[in-house]
């Protein structure tokens, strides 16, 4: 079991949510439509991030079985928003693949009038170190 507090802090920074606010009621996992497909369930994402065990989550298929339906986020009574943690770990995994997939110099060529600015910001977040 590897504990990596840097990864924990990155996930917390990305979500902007303190995982300690979770009171472990399990409503997120009760509401999850992909529960049976996921090795780690929404409430476990919170606990494992809090414990610094982000590597286990990053290695799990659960990251891609989350439908991002946001039901857990919607129903959490403490505002912990597990879906954001899944997304943050997913981002961490994407960034890990090394290298910049998107350089600022490449942007002007891609631009067209229909491209929303949000998409560029979001692409940078995911594909650039």
């Amino acid at each position: 079991m590897k504990i990596d507090m840097n990864k924990r802090d990155s996930v917390i920074r990305m979500t902007g949510i303190n995982p300690r606010t979770c009171m472990k009621c399990g409503k997120c996992s009760a509401t999850c439509p992909s529960f049976d497909e996921m090795e780690y369930h929404p409430h476990q994402f919170i606990s494992l991030v809090e414990a610094g065990r982000v590597d286990e989550l990053m290695a799990s298929e659960s990251l891609y079985n989350c439908l991002a339906c946001m039901a857990c986020l919607e129903r959490c009574p403490r505002g912990v928003e597990p879906a954001k943690f899944v997304e943050a770990v997913r981002n961490l995994k994407l960034r890990e693949h090394g290298g910049n997939h998107l350089a600022p110099e490449a942007i002007p060529e891609m631009l067209d009038a229909d491209l929303p600015q949000q998409a560029i910001v979001s692409a940078f977040r995911k594909y650039s170190k």
């Binding site: 009621c25 399990g26 996992s29 009760a30 509401t31 999850c32 409430h43 959490c76 009574p77 403490r78």
Partner: protein
Amino acid sequence: MQRIGVFVCHCGTNIAGTVDVKTVAEMLGKEPGVVFSTDYQYMCSEAGQTLIQDAIKEHNLGGVVICSCSPRMHEQTFRKACAKAGLNPYMVEVANIREQCSWIHKDVAEGTEKAVILGRAAIAKVHLNAPLTAGESPVVKRALVIGGGIAGMQTALDIADAGFEVDIVEKNATIGGKMAQIDKTFPTLDCSACILTPKMVDCAQHEKINIYAYSEVEDVKGFVGNFSVAIRKKARYVDETKCTGCGICTEKCPVKNIPNEFNMGMDNRRSIYIPFAQAVPKIATIDPNTCNKLKTGKCGVCSKVCGAGAIDYTQKDEIIRREYGAIVVATGFNMIDMTKFDEFGYAQSKDVITSLEFERLTNAAGPTGGTLLRPSDGKHPHTIVFVQCCGSRSTTENGKPYCSKICCMYTAKHAMLTREKYPDTDVYVFYIDVRTPGKNFDEFYRRAVEQYGVHYVKGMVGKVAPRADGTLHVQASDLLAGEQLHIDADLVVLAGAIEPDKSARGLATKLTASMDTNDFFTEAHPKLRPVESPTAGVFLSGVCQGPKDIPETVAQAGAAASKVIGLLVKDKLTCNPCVAQSDELLCNGCSGCEHVCPYGAITYETKEFMQFDRSMKPRRVASVNPAVCQGCGACTVTCPSGAMDLKGFSNRQIMAEVDAICK
């Protein structure tokens, strides 16, 4: 120049740990006017007080500065001690070097520097202190209890038994409150109505208790010992002196489809109604929003069938003004609106009910006569799911951040009684934590699990979806098994959060009593004065102060009563002499102070004033009633001409303190 003594307290290590008390005493000893300065381990102790008293006599002190904890804590202690040594108690000032200094600083140098500055400010103020004498005000020997639930009734009975008159104001047509709707009480399982209704009758029959049912508090004036309260007695359209409570009108009224509030809307009542059989007072009330006669002028059936001739369609609301020495708030609670929680399907299915609705469904006087039947089709439910913490401990906007406290126990009661009466029923309870502190409480919960086989599951219900066949699909977590459960339930019972009654906020404004962010009334001290509001003469009883069960409510009701009795036995109250006074020569008659005064203590009068040419000219000037003024100081900061000043906290004194701090 005053002869001032400075006394620096160590408070054990509370102060001395972060403030160099010896240096503080030494530095303050050099201030102008200070003739004696010392430090001591505990100034509030008997030895500490003696030290102050001896110094007053020995050094002939005219003013005393005590550097210690907050004046809220021990100002009275030190004032009394100094008064015993012959000093006017208002010549004592407390510099708060604990809460506002040692407790918030870590660095000794910083803490010491600040303590010296705070001490200096107090010394500067004492130089300008003048001896004050407290006046007295009489006490009206009658109490008002707002709310006629178990909290209000118990408080009223206890006060009345001590020989004082009590009025109960209840907004509903009957007293009894929530306890009247409950079927059984935990953990003894005695019948709620059987232990409540005798108390209701006691209230009605007690010669010292007067019940204003179907009435609300309109406004409150005055102050501790002398409140003047206007009570709106809402029109019942029934003459209370004539109605015998026979109930014929409630059977003959043609408007039949009004949801019955007493049974949580699960059956209907008529437009003219008596809430329940044991109602006190047992008098019919016409609901003006649904009565045909009052709305259209056509009908009048109740009037025709009433043998006593009690129906009076012309009745109007009546305002009664009465004087009270003390006011007890006992406004109680309601369950929050469960329709906002889409995931529980409360609005989608009749078979998703709240716990209070469940109480009515199992009560002999309820809509099903006490047989547990599904509201949708009247069939026996075979699988029942109880969900705890529905909206409690929730920081979202629909929920409440606090624990509602009573739900764990009443859910265990519901689950146990269901299994007892209907052993073929499968009962699930979903919990986040089971909280059962209290005498025989945990044993009760364990009995539900061990003896009655209730399935307690650690986890929350995420979704309740009605199916076409009438069952409810419950999707939930079993966190201990690491599974997601899918249960086909016949009935889902939601233990919704409780919240203070909506009327509480408006009432708090009328009483100038403070509330917390959840609209619970705040107590004067959370540990040591739990049944008193910070507003003098206002006391708290029951759930209006925070969630509590019946035994706790009754205990608190008694405690509030004892505080009220302690107040009412006094013939006179000592007034606070730190009140506002107006300098008539400076007053420009603008009425600004009169408008901001929350106590109605300021009035204007026209007086003759001599002019430069010795002629007399009338002018409007403010005058303060010192018995009503609470010394809040709102008028002094409003006054544009500087005419208004607060004794003991004069503008000059405050400026002297600021100067001393900035020096």
